[in-house]
Symmetry: C2
DNA sequence: GTCTATAAATGGATAGAC
DNA sequence: GTCTATCCATTTATAGAC
């Protein structure tokens, strides 16, 4: 498995820690340019310039602009897997726990890089269908699954009565997003009032809990 | 106001009924190309070709590609105003009324042209900030306002108890959208099971009503 | 693998005839 | 207003030297 011949190849570069040196620069530059300009407006020249390599080197790694785009955005989607860490709110009362999950969720969604990926993927998913699916499965779908697990535990402990945790998770996450996330993706400068967001999330949690209150 | 000189100018063309003949062709073609290719990948050549005019004519109407794009997408956003007609469900019991509103909402959102506009606007809103705002205000914002009005009436009749109809409308519409709309924008071919959508909406309505049940 | 140089096509935008 | 023809910068992609 280990390759003795070219052992100390990575980790000598301050850039992203992808295998190889230049390929890391290329991917980082591509990421930056594509997320900033979108697929159509981005140019391989700009990427090569920012990566400090020649265009020929780009094409040595990736056979086409499309391939580079797909590789680079797919990788970005994959990262989302890592970010949404396990919910550490199991010990709290249910309303406090859900509020915490909601805030954590929104803090993640509203990160500028996450919004940028969202924009590019939505914008290009008509032309890159696989991309839409990859994004969906490594992002929203995964987060929903984890939230469903959490809700299942909540239901098993009898704190709420949730016959279908999958559907409940979808409703919960959708409520939390509300229009705040949409405004984020639309780049509407809207001095995000954290206190107001918290009030909104609190109301969402209240409605959710009312909907899944145990009957006993 | 009326212009006797060039009276019978419009309405002689099978294309879209915008003022003038060629300008209508241009806008229709631009709409089509931009929505299909996105801003960056679309070309003025392609638009001119599809509109059956020369590029010079394009530039006679609009000074730049950006201007044509903005004009054409803004116009498309404006159309959304019209589509979401007044809610005609006031006479139904509240749960049935809300289910109906939800279905109507989703039928609108999932129309291919509406999804296409959504994709383009989200994709380009990073570079065209005014576009994001125009879309938001003529689409989601307006629909939310109308839904809030409806909920206010419901609350005034005592069917539900809704202290803040604005927030409630946001929660309601967000739940209805769930992940179905996201999958639509991501162009994920997902044989839309209408029966399942109806079940989902029914559950969303159930949770919503539980959250705003009058206390009496 | 990596570069310089360039091919070959297309991009947005315009000049000038009618 | 509309067209043909064209300018010139930029595009994706490649050939060939090192």
């Amino acid at each position: 498995m280990a390759n003795p011949g070219k052992a100390a190849k990575a980790a000598s570069n301050p850039e992203v820690a992808v295998e190889g040196r230049k390929v890391g620069q290329v991917l980082a530059a591509a990421r930056h340019i594509f997320l900033e300009e979108g697929y159509g407006s981005a140019s391989m020249d700009a990427i090569a310039r920012e990566a400090s390599v020649s265009k020929a080197t780009l094409y040595a790694y990736y056979p086409s602009k499309e391939a580079l785009f797909a590789a680079c955005v797919s990788e970005e989607c994959g990262k989302h897997r890592i970010v949404y860490e396990a919910i550490e709110a199991e010990h709290l009362p249910i309303d406090q726990a859900l509020i915490r999950v909601g805030l954590q969720f929104m803090r993640f969604l509203l990160r500028p890089e996450v919004l940028a990926v969202h924009r590019v993927v939505v914008g290009e998913s008509g032309r890159f269908p696989e991309l839409g699916r990859a994004f969906y499965e490594s992002g929203p779908c995964l987060i929903e699954a984890r939230t469903a697990e959490f809700l299942q535990h909540v239901s098993e402990r009898g704190e709420l009565e949730i016959p279908n945790p999958q559907v409940a998770a979808e409703l919960f996450l959708a409520m939390i997003k509300g229009h705040v996330h949409l405004r984020g993706t639309l780049a509407i400068a809207h001095k995000l009032d954290v206190a107001e967001l918290e009030r909104f999330i609190t109301e969402a949690v209240r409605v959710f809990i009312a909907g899944y209150q145990p009957k006993s």
